[in-house]
Symmetry: C2
Subunit: 667 residues, 2 copies
């Protein structure tokens, strides 16, 4: 907890009203008391380090200045983490999830993030034992600094379309990397611009005149001593973006650049000295990393939503506005029901996504254990789940972060609110590691197959077994959480059926399968989204019930309210789908609207306690509007006073431009 300065009276009042133990909620969110302790320990280590504090806010710096500031802080931060890891054998600083969490302790995106996030994991996942022995020590101790280059200027989603070539030359036992076109330039990798000196490059492998598709290669791109790009390498940064300003995303091109044969990562496929290509094990195994990252994104979105909710709820407790009753003072804006409608769903969503992410993580762990035993059965289901959950959680998070920002009026528009930076992170989440629509269509393929099975009465995997029930008309509406969940399952099944029938119709009209798929694709993405909503609602509700007996009654009750709010909110949002595909009635909806208004009122007294429970320190929240002490207006003014323009009474542009201009006007 932060104690600097006096705490705002309204927040004190709110905290006194709270009916549950905030610390217990924090443990629940972290995953246990010890997890909270560990997290706080790392935070304590980082947040008081002077070198990690910005002298002036990043937004005032030039583009180059921002990058240099981020580089300085990255090196300091990673040093700290290494030290910490030496002292605490249980803390694995190099685990990507830990990297992300620690990254969020400083406002700048680290140019070095992909070194640990992608470079090291790819060596582990794709390198042979000999290659791991050679590269891992250097990479883990950071004698070399790497990134991961796959996407090209003209190619993102479609991996097979990559143009960069790696052609084997048996004469010298080397691969020749080449960028044949403008669109073949590698484009986007974080840290590639001016930072990394090594890189995993994904390229089309050619040997003995044949193309064998894309494979990963490890490539040195800059001189270890001088950092100069090596001859044959063109490298630089791609320029400013909506967010991730200091991630140093880069481009890369090769001009017949040679690397030793041993630099092809050969855990799976191999090229022998004479150029003979040896096929690797199942490609399915390489799905692993991609899925892992998607699973992580779901949890990250939960975290970003909790940041936005914390800012908006605390601000709404501090801000007073309007005077509905002439004899009374201006109320806290948190007392407006429209404001509660905007914000409480944000709190609920953060819990829903975190629990769905954890559940997906457990499913992932189970499936990878099965994989090690050679069982691939659950892979398609997991793939379908990770696609739609990543897509829907990031999309919803984008809407919710903006909803929280707009709920803070003009002040939410200030950079110092930190909403714009949070939105930049979330907005990237919608596109990276599988674009929203592309992922929904991946899930749709699975759903259509499932529907065909359901029609034939086959045994279904658990997450789609509701289709059998729908087909047998066994789902009946009731205004209960269980009723709502099965209602959402009806919608998912009904939309899958409708999309399936649209597909058949287009096929009957003479289109081939892929054209029919395209023509029905809006309906197919809708089915996927509906499937995902049913999953999130079910997991959220069931997990809250499952944990309930282990919790104090106060906490259990408010979590129950949040879960119910989530279900009712989405019922009202998706009333059209439910009226079309379930047996919900107009009077059910009227009753649920009333219940929704009741739930807002029930949650209202605990709103500040609920965001306090997220336990996001001021230094991490980094928001003038959301700090624990509620000194909103003081902080807004303090931040404004940091502006370089406010350090001088008159800016030079007055003498250079404005004064001559105004004087000319007098003539």
């Amino acid at each position: 907890m932060t104690t600097e300065g006096k705490v705002n009276e309204d927040l004190l009042k709110e905290r006194r009203k709270c009916t549950f133990d905030v610390e217990e909620l924090t443990h629940f969110i972290d995953g246990g008391e010890q997890a909270t302790k560990d997290r706080r320990e790392v935070e304590e280590m980082v947040i008081y380090v002077k070198e990690l504090k910005d002298e002036i806010p990043e937004e005032y710096l030039s583009h180059t200045g921002k990058y240099e500031n981020a580089m300085k802080k990255s090196c300091v931060l990673i040093d700290l983490l290494k030290e910490h890891a030496l002292k605490h054998s249980s803390f694995d600083a190099y685990r990507p999830t830990n990297m992300y969490r620690v990254q969020s302790l400083v406002p700048q995106q680290m140019p070095l993030l992909l070194h640990m996030g992608m470079f090291v994991p790819t060596i582990i996942g794709q390198g042979s034992p000999e290659q791991q022995a050679e590269w891992l020590p250097k990479a883990l101790s950071m004698q070399i600094m790497g990134t991961y280059a796959q996407t090209e200027l003209g190619h993102g989603t479609f991996l097979r379309g990559l143009e960069t070539t790696a052609t084997y030359d048996p004469a010298t036992e080397e691969f020749v990397l080449h960028t044949p076109t403008l669109t073949a330039h590698k484009w986007w990798p974080g840290g590639l611009g001016q930072t990394a000196n090594h890189c995993i490059v994904v390229a089309q492998l050619y040997t003995k005149g044949e193309c064998y598709g894309v494979h990963p290669f490890i490539v040195q791109i800059r001189d270890s001593e001088t950092h100069m790009p090596l001859p044959g390498i063109k490298v630089g940064e791609i320029g400013p973006k909506l967010g991730f300003q200091t991630a140093n995303n880069g481009f890369l091109a090769f001009d017949h650049f040679r690397i030793p044969r041993e630099n092809m990562l050969m855990k799976n496929a191999q090229v022998q000295k004479d150029g003979t290509y040896i096929k690797g094990k199942s490609e399915k195994l390489t799905y692993g990393t991609m899925m892992l990252i998607r699973v992580m994104i779901v949890t990250d979105m939960a975290y970003e939503v909790s940041r936005a909710a914390t800012i908006a709820v605390r601000y709404s407790a501090v801000r007073h506005q309007s005077q509905p009753k002439p004899d009374q003072p201006e109320p806290q804006i948190l007392d407006y029901v429209t404001q509660q409608h905007k914000l409480f769903i944000a709190i609920a969503t953060s819990h829903a996504f975190r629990l769905a992410g954890n559940w997906l993580w457990n499913t992932y762990s189970q499936v990878t254990r099965d994989l090690d035993k050679g069982k691939l059965d659950h892979l398609p289901e997991l793939h379908a789940l990770s696609c739609c959950l990543k897509a829907v959680s990031s999309f919803d998070a984008g809407l919710i972060v903006e909803r929280c920002r707009m709920a803070c009026g003009g002040h939410g528009y200030m950079m110092s609110s930190n909403f714009p930076v949070i939105y930049g992170v979330v907005a990237a989440g919608i596109t990276v590691e599988g674009e929203y629509t592309v992922l929904l269509l991946q899930t749709a393929r699975y759903l259509i197959k499932a529907w065909e099975q359901a029609k034939e009465g086959k045994v279904m995997t658990p997450t789609v077994s509701y289709m059998v029930n729908f087909n047998n008309n066994r789902l009946k509406w009731s205004n209960t959480p269980e009723g709502i969940i099965s209602g959402f399952q009806s919608v998912a099944a009904g939309k899958t059926k409708a999309a399936y029938e649209a597909l058949q119709k287009y096929k009957r009209a003479g289109n081939d399968y892929e054209d029919s798929w395209n023509l029905a694709s809006v309906q197919l993405t809708n089915a996927s989204e509906a499937h995902c909503r049913a999953i999130i609602c079910e997991v959220f509700w069931k997990e809250i019930q499952r944990m309930s007996p282990t919790q104090s009654p106060g906490l259990a009750k408010v979590l129950q309210q949040l879960a119910e709010l989530y279900l009712v909110y989405w019922t009202l949002e998706k009333s059209g789908d439910l009226l079309e595909y379930s047996s919900i009635s107009s009077s059910d909806l009227t009753a649920l609207r009333q219940r929704y208004e009741e739930l807002l009122a029930l949650i209202r007294p605990n709103a500040v306690g609920l965001v306090d429970g997220f336990d996001i320190r001021d230094q991490v929240l980094n928001s003038t509007l959301g700090s624990y002490d509620g000194r909103v207006y003081e902080r807004l003014m303090e931040e404004a006073m940091k502006s370089p323009l406010n350090q001088e009474p008159v800016n030079q542009s007055f003498h250079k431009y404005l004064k001559p201009f105004m004087q000319k006007s007098k003539l």
Copy 2:
């Protein structure tokens, strides 16, 4: 049209396919051939001026550098406009709408915008003839530079809550301006930070010990010669924001700062020499400027949506991705129906908002003519319309701009796409000049009154007369444009009725009116939004029908398709409301889903022609992805090469931070 460089083959192909006259569409959008000619003339005058070109993109500059660059360009631009106005007596450079359009010709927000946008209009609207004679010549010739300071750090929506005081001192015949608290600091006015030397200040007027509420005063804040803040004035800028980076939004505080009595703007209320307060005419008359600005925002939103649509559609014609069929090349992403679903509604929405804005403008002009004759009858209806249209158009525009951005994948996330800047403008539109929810609740007050009238069978004003029909159950669904429009009217009436009943229920439960209003406010805002959708749909459809006979068949047809698309899109989006409040059936919806897919296919060949018709020059679009010639990848690379980080092979941070860090790792 831009002709520089070779035009992309895909775009050439698209343009050959177009079935209507693009130039005719442009005239339709501009409001006639002459209007197009006039607009292009101003553009020609501006876009080739060397001083208005950025040497390097703004994003690379520091905060101070951005401001100075914008100041330089502002002065050049306004000089040009004055010259142009002298030459073309028909062109009124000082008309706020013209200012906005011309402003959009340079990427930077002008710190001088509020001088013409608010300072001058307030002198005209609130100044007495003598005051106008004194101040207008100086303001119009720009010997003084002003802005408009109303909002305070702690007070936005609620005007009566402003804390700044203006206390009359009859001894010296002066007002004493004072900022009693932190929250009383003026906060947000554009150009206030370092730019303006004068300011309209809205403050609580005290005279003879009484408070008479807020009134406007004209105040000099900086020395004319030195530009130093005057003694008793604290002024500066508020810091960086999500958008409007160079608008130089500022704060302002007074320490018992004295101004002559004559500086109170006295067209309406007056304070006499002895301190006697004389009440002004109806307050309703001062609504005018506020309504005018809201009307203008609707049109601005149409324009910003057309920019986003142009970028996304052209990029989608150039971009190829994936390979659904192994024997065929990667298709243009515009051929994916999901992409058409994302983008064609953007094109349609731009037309819908522009036509609704024009219609509102005409209504506004009619009402102000009536006002001049002393007729106030239609003022409440116009107020209700301007509130909900401003709210809904800006909110939808925000979603659509982001939808267009996300439809461009990773490249849409680049600043050089220009989406982030467009979003910054639109996002501000949701909050400024009346916050979204506050405005919807304003409209709701009108709707609830209208519903009470409808229940009593009274004669209704035209825009709510549908309530009578609904009440008489005269609205029957049909899958035709007219059927859809009356369906939306049913929804609006049904939601108003439901909100009214919720209000009654809360009142019966013992709540007073304002508490009941608050408790029902989520439903009330929903009713307002529904009312607004019905209005937009009706105006769009009817205006398209009305214009149709004056157009070539090719253009008339494609506009018809867009209007129908808009109606069907919103029917499918709001299926829940329609199922609840109209007689639409599930099979109607199935048929409309098919019709929607047909309309996407019909519009597809004209997609590029439709955005070409918006006639937004490359220099104004300012987007690597959206230029007329479609050289997307070339421009992305050219922009990246402008990064200062790419001007040197090794950044100094390598030697300062990274190399020592990596070497330490070796030990």
